[in-house]
């Protein structure tokens, strides 16, 4: 299990909360070749990211291999206030996963 792969910030401005997160992940497409060995590097990418606010799902992202390495994601939702919890979790195609949560500032 991967750990500490997510950097997460959530900031409230009035009623709107903006969430920004960076995930550390190779996002390998499965089409690239290793230049030294000539072998194809197996695909390894995040498939699903779930974002929750106080336990309610706000956003579900389905990603393909065409999302950049170390993906960045930003979105916004209404109805949050400082102190609420926001959490992000991801699962990749090898079954690896990680999650993180933070408090809205």
């Amino acid at each position: 299990m991967a750990s500490k792969t997510i950097k997460l910030r959530a900031r409230a401005k009035g009623d709107t909360v903006t969430v920004k997160c960076l995930i550390k992940h190779p996002m390998e497409t499965g089409m690239r070749k290793d230049k030294k060995t000539g072998k194809v590097i197996p695909a390894h990418f995040i498939q699903e990211v779930v974002c929750q606010h106080n336990g309610n799902t706000v956003l579900t992202a389905d990603w393909g291999p065409a999302v950049s390495k170390n993906p960045y994601l930003s979105f916004a939702f209404t109805g949050g206030k400082p102190g609420d919890s926001v959490s992000i979790s991801w699962v990749d195609n090898t079954g690896d996963k990680d999650s993180a949560s933070t408090k809205i500032k």
Binding site: T29, E48, V58, A61, D62, A66, V67, S68, A76
Partner: protein, 154 residues
Amino acid sequence: MQRRTFLKGSLAGTAVAVAVGAGLLTPRAVLAAWPKSAFKAKKIDDALAKLFGTADNTPSDKIAIKAPDIAENGAVVPVSVKASLDGVESIAILAAKNANPLTSSFSLGANALPQVSTRIKMGKTSDVIAVVKAGGKVYSARKNVKVTIGGCGG
């Protein structure tokens, strides 16, 4: 007689293989209802048909795509999509000339605002297409991005 038993044997073997295949697939199905066929689709229409159930979409000026005109590095193209439509259910981002055009799809919860930002890979210069499903209808917008170094393969 021998041929018959052989046939039976091979049939049973196939059944087992199918069962194992299904067994191997289940963990992934449990993890996520990940739309594999949509991500594997090689044409934009196919990907949309598999994702939204229809390839029809209406061009809309209520969808704003923020992406660079020229992306120096195709491996990292920042894209923001903001829709000013009501009842947005999901947003998908496609790169028209990628081998598999669909890059990402976001389904929005009740409180989420219709805007997402992420970074995608682009193989070559092409349109970035944002497809938004709102109120049961599918809208789209596109923006051309010039890529000087491709971000797929290498």
